[in-house]
Symmetry: C2
Subunit: 341 residues, 2 copies
Amino acid sequence: MSTAANRRRPATIHDVAREAGVSRGTVSRVLNGGHYVSPTAKAAVDAAIRRTGYVVNRHARSLITGKSDSVAFLLTEPQERFFEDPNFNVLLRACTQALAAQDIPLLLMIAGTEDERRRNLRYIEAGHVDGVLLVSSHSGDPVVTRLHEAGVPVVACGKPLGQTAKIGYVAADDRDGARDMVRHLYETGRRRIATVTGPLDTPGGVERLAGYRETLAEYGLPADEALIVQGDYSRAGGESAAARLLESAPDMDAVFVASDLMAQGVLDTLDRAGRRVPEDIAVGGFDDSPAALSSRPPLTTIRQPWDRISTEMVRTLLARIAGEEPAAVILPTELVRRAST
Amino acid sequence: MSTAANRRRPATIHDVAREAGVSRGTVSRVLNGGHYVSPTAKAAVDAAIRRTGYVVNRHARSLITGKSDSVAFLLTEPQERFFEDPNFNVLLRACTQALAAQDIPLLLMIAGTEDERRRNLRYIEAGHVDGVLLVSSHSGDPVVTRLHEAGVPVVACGKPLGQTAKIGYVAADDRDGARDMVRHLYETGRRRIATVTGPLDTPGGVERLAGYRETLAEYGLPADEALIVQGDYSRAGGESAAARLLESAPDMDAVFVASDLMAQGVLDTLDRAGRRVPEDIAVGGFDDSPAALSSRPPLTTIRQPWDRISTEMVRTLLARIAGEEPAAVILPTELVRRAST
DNA sequence: CATGCATCTGTGAGCGTTCACAGTAGAGAA
DNA sequence: TTCTCTACTGTGAACGCTCACAGATGCATG
């Protein structure tokens, strides 16, 4: 005997109307803001709703309004990279909760493979969601264009690179964060400051490198390409990047690493090479992920305001759905001093 | 000018029917398996669907079928614990993908606060999802009972503790995994084997401890309560647990730690106390999370088959939705040998 | 030739909402 | 009084789909 059998037929707006002694229309008006409803009627409807345990049938509502009152959280990463990224977790959780506060469910979509991409686009383009929170790091993502062309409201996390389409986005001020870190390294006496960049087809990679370059120039330090190596945001990538730096610029006294995870790898390599941190060489990270605290020594890093990024993404998307024009929101970062510098 | 303006009115089943020269009914039958449809008609409909770019309107369908063709992934953790857990990430990702393969969207729901719990239950009980993938670790979770009473198909991750209700679940064989680890420690010559348990109101905590106890008994080792301390699955908890063990059982030569994260903390404490791993003391973890690989030395641990757990959860839930009785699925674990033992 | 059966097709009704519209009542102005 | 305006209420018609049912067709069987 399936337990599902004891599910009662749920109350409809009709039941509520009958119970309250009013018409469907009045109940509907109460449900949608209560304008043009007398206090007496509203009270009767509220009571009837409570008594019947009525919950609006979203399918029926969506059918006529053409809106779904739901939002997709779309991940277009080729691999599982993002799921290992602690930032991503905060982002997903905070977005879910910010949406839940408005009673809007979040549909999680992962478009790793071509097949998944097609399926999800099909779903979204069919109008089954009102908008999309897009997490896509790589440059020229076709999904961005497709969504834009379909006229689906989109807000991206981080500036979408290589897009002609005008897409709203929310991002931390990567460039400014990088500047803060390099300034900090300079002010603590470092003069041969190297950097391990992120992938240069990601906005973070590009911006953080730019901030690094600008700050060196600002201080009149020479722009030495031997001090710059490219990484891939992974720990292993950090290890090999540091090895390359030890080759090309053995006299460096600081490294600004574009992510904490890579910084961990850098620390490993430096440790094996016998360089002491921070005595011989200072290491600065980026993200303030849990890795920053658990590494040895704990990392000086740049905190990204993920909670605010999430709430801003949701706010911006809802505004966009309501008809506002796309906008870019840039949020400030914060230097967190620890033992590695 | 909003770009949303260029969204065309999407094709309906009517348009397809007209285009294919058949009736709505025939199109609908093609859409739902194609039974009782002549090959000619089916071909015409398929072509028409392709030409019009028709995608079924799920709201209209749901309105009449009473099903939503969507599933909730419900997290009832008081804090963000799960979002820091790498296992959870795998679980969420794999569930999303397994569902996507059946074209079923996943709604992510987080019920941390009382308010969120109420909201989400309301949503689910209103029948807006066909079933629930439940991740809830603590004992006697009222959500489990509520869902069961509402007759909503539920599949839990891990055996729900303290439930009289018969709930289907999928879990790794925690007890057997613990047995494997303790056996391994014994076979590599250890005789004073301690353990740091998980919280004892979680199924994992209880089962792993039971496996530990059973195996000691099996080998005729004394059951010494000084060898057992309780942890909380966190790294900090592992640190303090190890400190307590160093007090109560300074002669231990192995520790079976009920999670990799805690094992990292244990390694930290042992390191500070000057105990070498694995020379002086062997450390075994549980989970085979990324932490196991990045710790020093890399952890011998028990791998939980998260991919299979996820696909089994989805499979079981869909079966349950289709009317099958709840069932428990227990999946085998695997010992992964690394340098810590 | 009628009957039965399986296969296929179209039609009308209805799922639970919202929305436009028509209508009522009461207050105030002409 | 009569008219207008505002606040409120009820009603029918959608929204796009599925489902039950009625009919039609072809083929084998009695």
